[in-house]
């Protein structure tokens, strides 16, 4: 059974001496996590005692001001960051995208990039072969698929990235704000695909500043502030 459970998860970034110059200004610290320092090191508490549970079919929207910890939380869920404290239990195959361009090589064609992206996500060659045409169709890139990736606009890149990362139907899909890079018709399509995924009893976690996107896609909303869970609630349904 697909599920996600976080128990009192905290994450602290340690800033090494050289990086401290770029730390946010403390006086107007309404955004961001808590900054602490000890000796020559500084720390940013990006997540502070976060607990929640998701079960099959849940679509969670992560909201909160810049620096609230949304991206950090997604990366902790994916396993990129090991939490400084607390426990995570995840059941299910996770796929995630934090940066549209990850794994995409500017000089390679879209087609070749689908292969590379697939390999990176651990697909077999047969799986890549099988999904190729579907990914191309979904991304609506047409003849551009055989041009180098560097000739794509951000929106086109987003289409390709989304098409590729959802093609194998991950059981748990994590997405950061980049999805809003696509145009309205793409977002509509993306929503439909996310509906399908969720209906197959998957879990989706989506961070976005776009309230209407969250309302359209998510069933629950989690508000983060300074790395703490401010509230978690059912998303008010869109009229209709």
């Amino acid at each position: 059974m697909v599920s996600v459970k976080l128990d009192n998860v905290s994450l602290v970034y340690k800033l090494h001496e050289k990086l401290t110059l770029s730390a946010p200004d403390r006086r107007m610290n309404d955004t961001g996590g808590r900054i602490a320092s000890s000796g020559r090191k500084q720390f940013v508490q990006a997540l502070d005692g976060v607990s929640f549970e998701l079960k099959a079919g849940d679509r969670l929207g992560l909201v909160g001001p810049n620096g609230a910890g949304k991206t950090t939380l997604l990366k902790v869920l994916y396993g990129i960051y090991e939490p400084s404290e607390g426990n995570i239990t995840i059941d299910g195959k996770v796929d995630a995208l934090f940066n549209i361009n990850i794994g995409f090589r500017p000089e390679a064609t879209g087609r070749r990039n689908i292969v590379l992206r697939g390999l990176i996500s651990g697909w077999t060659e047969a799986e890549i072969e099988e999904k190729m045409e579907e990914i191309i169709a979904f991304s609506e890139l047409g003849d551009f698929i055989d041009l180098p990736f560097k000739a794509y606009s951000q929106g086109m890149a987003a289409r390709l990235a989304f098409a590729a990362s959802t093609a194998l139907e991950p059981e748990i899909l994590l997405m950061d704000e980049w999805i809003s890079a696509g145009d309205a018709s793409f977002q509509e399509k993306a929503k439909r695909r996310m509906d399908e995924l969720a209906e197959k009893a998957g879990i989706i976690v989506l961070a976005s500043h776009d309230q209407s996107l969250i309302e359209r896609v998510c069933t629950k909303t989690l508000t983060l502030r300074h790395g703490r869970v401010e509230s978690i609630a059912m998303t008010p349904m869109e009229a209709a």
């Binding site: 970034y13 340690k14 090494h16 050289k18 990366k75 994916y78 396993g79 990129i80 960051y81 090991e82 995208l97 934090f98 940066n99 361009n101 990850i102 794994g103 090589r105 000089e107 390679a108 292969v115 590379l116 390999l119 990176i120 651990g122 060659e125």
Partner: protein
């Protein structure tokens, strides 16, 4: 200790399952480095031949067997350039892979193997040039060449461990990038790459005997040039390789989850 080792082996086995990833990426890397050039990766060969030619021309000891010296320099430079490139590029490995490390959960060893394959492919061009020089300049083709081949394979075996060690060093001590780069550039003069140790100059003899790179060079060079098996150099190189792997496994096991916070 056990859990450190388990962590390291998990990472390595995970990377081995993803071998298609690093093989594909390494090929893309080579292609990208030479895209839009007419000669493509053949520039690596040209570069190598130009260096060997220059060194032979400038440093050829007067009155000595010229052909022997060409072979000496050809093999010396081939191995030295390989090691120098591997080490200097490794120090910034994790920094260069930052977007992958911060955006995917690929095992770190994937990046180590990506660089290993890339370095091996690049070395292939120098090896081809070296073989041509050897055939022209004349050391007889004997079965001892097989020992040189074994020497090359031993160096290849040590490569991932060396890369991992320097990659972790670079991630945790950013200054090491510059220190290592400088040391390697100076190190060439303290390594018997193009000078021959004749036992008369005490500094030279000292550098010959105490430089760990000497044995790495000699396992490849000695069999071809002297038609005998350099047991001592093989033992030393083997010991360095084992030690490097032990250190690499410890680093990987203990610090792999910290790297993402360090780069």
């Amino acid at each position: 200790m056990i859990s450190t080792l388990n962590g390291a082996l998990d990472d390595i086995f995970g990377a081995m399952k993803l071998r298609r990833v690093w093989i594909a990426l390494a090929h893309e890397d080579i292609g990208d480095q030479h895209r839009r050039t007419t000669l493509g990766p053949l520039w690596l060969l040209v570069n190598y031949l130009a260096f060997v030619g220059t060194f032979v021309f400038v440093f050829q000891p007067a009155g000595k067997d010229a052909a022997g010296y060409s072979a000496y320099v050809a093999i010396g430079l081939m191995v030295w350039f390989y090691l120098m490139e591997v080490i200097t590029v490794s120090v910034s490995l994790f920094k260069r892979e930052q977007s992958f490390i911060e955006g995917t959960t690929l095992p770190l060893f994937v990046y180590v193997m990506r660089l290993t394959v890339q370095s091996a492919i690049r070395a292939g061009y120098a090896i081809a040039g070296c073989i041509v020089i050897l055939l022209i300049s004349g050391p007889a083709l004997t079965t001892a060449w097989l020992w040189s081949l074994a020497g090359l394979l031993l160096i290849l075996l040590a490569t991932p461990a060396i890369i991992a060690i320097f990659a972790f060093t670079g991630a945790f001590f950013p200054d090491s990038e510059f220190i290592v780069g400088n040391l390697m550039r100076v190190g060439m003069f303290f390594t018997p790459v193009f000078w021959v140790n004749n036992g008369q100059d005490p500094i030279q003899t000292y550098a010959y005997n105490w430089n760990p790179f000497t044995s790495f060079l000699e396992v490849v060079r000695h069999p071809i040039l002297s038609d005998e098996f350099p047991g001592h150099d093989f033992a030393l190189t083997g010991a360095f390789t084992v030690a490097a792997w032990v250190i690499a496994l410890m680093l990987l096991g203990r610090y792999r989850r910290q790297v993402v916070f360090m780069i």
